[in-house]
């Protein structure tokens, strides 16, 4: 008995939207790197995207209920791998995020996102009561906090932070008493200053300061924000043309093919290009939400909404950073930023969404 009706039910619109975003990403990676040492980044990205399609197909085929059933193993594997990465992992760019050989490495924390999504979905599905109780909050919070802290230690604050919206989104959907919500706000308000001075590293504190006032340290952390804003502004309405943006081409923009790819895109394609690209992201997001609305069960709904929340968070923080409205956290733009792990992880998430969609009429 097939677990889904037909390949025709596949979410082709979502595939088209994500492919369009990927195509613009490849174009921008090419434009930003064509005369640098990274000039091979664009075709590497194409290979990662093709691999992503395969990964999406695979995650579509395995019934998500099966995956949910394996959560204890997946979770245990994730935590073990994160610890292993921390202990053994290669040091690149001053942090231990990758595992593998130098030429072929994967960023484990990207795939942990999938596990967190599934973990939250399963926990919420198996709630004994209609209300999400304090004890649940502590239990689930603890489960999510463990990998978060491990990733933070790598140190990769940006990726670590992406786990929290999945949790928050899940709790929001499950329904939390307002008293608890209020209590969380109070605790966060108390913990934040302590975290700022005790947990955050100097460069992270500098990032916060430079976010609040970029001009204070224009050559340090604020430099990236200032250069990014200049790039975006210089793009104006119609943009300066592919390979014509001086901020991008002149390397004034930091990592214009990775974290600041949207800034490079905005410089070379202008406000019009930005609207088109943001429109694509919005449509993709709404398509995922639509799949959540038509999900056959709560688990599917939680999975889709977890992924939607995660992507929204990614877009908000990355694009917000580009226009100086969010601090520099160093998280990639989904589907666009050059980098294999992120592309693979995102396509696997889209595969999960498809997975849910294809099983919506099974009951």
């Amino acid at each position: 008995m097939p677990a889904y009706r037909s390949v025709r039910e596949f979410d082709w619109l979502m595939l088209v939207l994500s492919s369009a975003i990927c195509a613009l990403g490849v174009l921008q990676i090419f434009s930003a790197t064509h005369d640098t040492h990274y000039s091979d980044a664009w075709w590497k990205q194409v290979i990662w995207i093709l691999a992503g399609f395969v990964a999406m197909w695979v995650t579509t085929l395995i019934d998500y209920h099966t995956l949910l059933g394996q959560i204890p193993i997946l979770y245990g594997l994730s935590v073990t791998t994160l610890i292993a990465t921390y202990v053994l992992g290669m040091s690149a760019f001053g942090s231990r995020r990758w595992i593998g050989t130098t030429s072929y490495h994967l960023q484990v924390s990207e795939f942990v996102k999938l596990v967190v999504v599934l973990l939250v979905a399963r926990y919420m599905t198996e709630l004994k009561t209609e209300q999400f109780e304090l004890i649940d909050l502590l239990k689930l919070g603890g489960l999510v906090a463990l990998p978060t802290v491990l990733v933070m230690l790598q140190p990769d604050l940006g990726t670590a932070l992406t786990y929290l919206p999945i949790l928050a989104g899940g709790i929001f959907l499950a329904g939390l008493r307002w008293q608890y919500a209020a209590a969380i706000v109070v605790v966060v308000a108390l913990v934040l200053p302590v975290a700022y001075f005790v947990v955050l590293k100097d460069y992270q504190r500098a990032r916060v300061i430079s976010f609040l006032d970029p001009s204070q340290d224009p050559k340090g952390s604020g430099y990236q924000v200032i250069q990014s804003k200049i790039a975006v502004g210089a793009g104006a309405l119609w943009g300066r043309g592919v390979t014509k943006g001086t901020q991008t081409q002149g390397r004034f923009l930091p990592v214009p093919h990775k974290d600041f790819i949207f800034s490079a895109f905005a410089e070379e394609h202008g406000f019009v290009g930005v609207i088109v690209l943001l429109g694509l992201y919005f449509l993709l997001l709404m398509q995922i939400v639509q799949n959540a609305q038509t999900a056959p069960d709560r688990a599917g709904m939680y999975i889709c909404m977890g992924i939607a929340t995660l992507l929204l968070f990614h877009v908000l923080v990355n694009v917000g950073m580009v226009v100086g409205r969010m601090p520099v956290t160093g998280i990639p733009l989904p589907l666009m930023s050059s980098g294999g792990s992120n592309v693979l992880a995102i396509f696997m998430m889209l595969g999960l969404v498809n997975n849910v969609r294809l099983r919506r009429f099974v009951n």
């Binding site: 099966t66 989104g169 959907l173 250069q227 200049i230 919005f282 709560r298 709904m301 917000g320 226009v323």
Partner: protein, 641 residues
């Protein structure tokens, strides 16, 4: 699958349905959708602000980032000798500039440390530029002639994150002859100083301009100095050029300048003077063209070609021999016996003496109750023998018979007491004493007794070597004084001065000067076989004007200066050479120098007069050879004994 299977087993119980009902979340999902719309609007307003509301601000800043105005420094014109041979050339080098558009004061410390510059003076220099209001695009030169190591430091630090203000510019540096050849004539270039900018002559320059500071470089700065250009280039954040956007202003190179100096004669004069303190000036009296001008000790103008180091400058300034002084036009010394031809001419012209005037010299004479010594017992001397043997007693008598103002009249006629007007800065004018001069400087009247020492070129009279060459040369060609000059074209020449002199009297003086060299006179060492050389020796007591003012009394013993002035041929002079040795222990060597320069002149003339085939076979002088030290030039005696 497991959960799914469970539900199937339970046969879709009511509770299961309830548990798996997703309807409860529809409101919250809708909320999420609104939140997403909010997030996207929030982001879009960010782009709206930057890209639509005021993109010009950011476009300008992007331009500031990526577009740099780089000055294109115009090379100065070359300085050539009269035959077109290069005396002063340029060579390519790299200079380090600080671009002021993105200059950060806090970067100066590490930059100074990285390049071994003095931090305090670097800061002072940058501040000076800022206070002067020089154009913003004009960068500040901070180091010349970068070594490969320094270039490497700059290349690795000029990126946008480190020191984007560092700018290496290719410049044409002055390359002067070695060992100070013609250093005083040429002068040197340097960066215009703060003090100079406040003077009218230099007010039109900008801070950082390299201008002629002395000599020809200064006198003809406007011809030699080009006009700097500027180009705009696109750079990346590492400071590397990505392409030229526009040649905003093309650099206009300075024009070449041809001097009247003859490098062959100059080299001979430099060589023969060696490194003794003194000067040599060779002129063509018929035109006033300066053929050679040497002052020693010399300095190395290449020290100034970039920015002179303060230690080098201090060494030059503190040197007791004053190497920066151009003795040819600035040394004002008593002419001594070289004044006697002028004195004889003055006596004859004024009628104070006639052709038959004779004096008995017993080794001196009494005037106004004082005994004035002669350097020898000459017995009876006339106007010819008096000059040939340089008899002091004879000239004491002429001076005694004349009024001081008449003596001054003739001294000024030949060019003493005022600048020759040569096209060099800082020329000295010397002193010709007269009644007016005494009143003006000492508020005293003139005592006739003071005439006596003036008669032998002592007393207050002082002249420069250039004045002497011009005076004797002009007299020798019949009382026509052309203005000495170093540049043929473009020099502003004052009209030729014609003295109203009896040509017969001039011939008598010239005949006396012929005797000095050729009839066993005091200048036999200047004798040249085959060429009629005329001349006059002189040894003058060293008297500074300060000493005069301090109440210098006649007879005070001081170290002598040695002079020789000579010209040839006697009857139609083509070249006149004056030599001064300060504190002339080598007084005997003054005459041979003049002889050697005159010989070099006629040797060359003879060589050029040979048939063309032979000239073509002569080795053509290469520019490189001319830049060799004068010691490498063959002495004239060796080439044609």
């Amino acid at each position: 699958m497991k959960l799914h299977a469970d539900r199937e087993e339970q046969g879709l119980p009511a509770k299961g349905l309830l548990r798996d009902d997703t309807k409860f979340a529809s409101g919250k999902i809708a909320f999420f959708q609104y939140a997403a719309v909010g997030v996207f609007l929030f982001l879009i307003t960010g782009f709206w602000d930057l890209q639509v509301r005021n993109p010009q601000v950011y476009q300008e800043r992007a331009m500031e980032n990526s577009i740099k105005a780089i000055p294109v420094l115009a090379p100065r014109g070359k300085i050539l000798d009269r035959d077109g041979r290069v005396i002063v050339d340029n060579h390519s080098s790299f200079s380090l500039f600080l671009s002021r558009e993105n200059l950060k004061m806090e970067h100066l410390k590490p930059i100074a440390e990285g390049l071994n510059l003095d931090y305090d003076s670097l800061v002072a220099r940058v501040k000076r530029f800022q206070s002067r209001g020089a154009p913003q695009y004009q960068p500040i030169a901070i180091k010349e002639e970068l070594t490969p190591a320094e270039l490497a430091f700059v290349e690795s630090h000029k990126d946008a994150d480190t020191f984007p203000e560092l700018e290496v510019i290719h410049v044409q540096h002055r390359l002067y002859p070695r060992d100070g050849l013609a250093a005083h004539v040429i002068g040197y270039v340097g960066e215009v100083s703060e003090a100079e900018l406040n003077t009218p002559e230099f007010a039109r320059f900008h801070q950082g301009d390299v201008i002629g500071k002395d000599g020809i470089e200064r006198q003809y700065n406007d011809i030699l100095m080009g006009v700097d250009g500027q180009r705009r280039v696109e750079v990346d954040s590492f400071g590397n050029e990505r392409g030229v956007l526009a040649e905003d202003k093309e650099a206009i190179p300075g024009k070449n300048l041809q001097l009247t100096i003859d490098l062959d004669l100059q080299a001979v004069a430099e060589l023969t003077l060696e490194n003794r303190r003194g000067a040599v000036v060779a002129l063509d009296p018929r035109s006033g063209e300066v053929l050679a001008m040497v002052s020693r000790p010399a300095f190395d103008p290449n020290l100034f070609a970039g920015r002179i180091r303060s230690k080098d400058w201090k060494d030059l300034i503190d040197n007791p021999d004053h190497p920066l002084l151009n003795r040819a036009i600035q040394a004002q010394q008593a002419p001594g016996s070289t004044f006697k031809p002028i004195m004889l001419l003055a006596g004859l012209e004024s009628g104070a003496i006639d052709d038959n005037f004779t004096v008995n010299c017993p080794g001196g004479a009494n005037f106004y109750g004082r005994f004035f010594k002669c350097w020898q017992r000459h017995g009876t001397v006339g106007i010819h023998t008096g000059l040939v043997h340089s008899c002091d007693t004879f000239f004491y008598n002429i001076a005694n018979r004349m009024d001081i103002d008449d003596i001054a009249h003739y001294a000024e006629m030949v060019g003493y007491g005022h600048k020759t007007g040569i096209d060099l800065p800082h020329e000295a004018e010397g002193v010709v004493p007269s009644r007016k001069w005494k009143i003006r400087n000492f508020r005293e009247k003139w005592y006739p007794g003071e005439n006596i020492s003036v008669g032998i070129g002592q007393g207050a009279t002082t002249v420069t070597p250039l004045q002497m060459a011009a005076a004797i040369g002009g007299m020798a060609i019949g009382g026509i004084w052309n203005q000495p000059h170093l540049v043929r074209e473009g020099a502003r020449l004052v009209p030729v001065r014609h003295g109203e002199l009896n040509q017969e009297n001039i011939k008598k003086v010239v005949s006396g000067m012929y005797g000095v060299v050729n009839e066993g006179g005091t200048g036999v060492r200047a004798h040249l076989p085959g060429i009629d050389v005329c001349g006059k020796t002189g040894s003058a007591q060293l008297v500074s004007n300060d000493a005069l003012r301090a109440g210098f009394k006649q007879g005070q013993s001081m170290k002598d200066n040695a002079w020789f002035v000579g010209f040839a041929p006697c009857n139609s002079p083509e070249i006149v050479v004056a030599t001064l040795f300060e504190n002339g222990e080598h007084g005997q060597l003054a005459a041979p120098i003049v002889r050697d320069v005159i010989k070099a002149y006629f040797d060359k003339k003879q060589r050029l007069a040979q048939p063309r085939e032979q000239i073509a076979s002569l080795p053509a002088p290469l520019p490189g050879q001319l830049l060799r030290p004068p010691t490498a030039v063959q002495p004239p005696g060796a080439s044609n004994p």
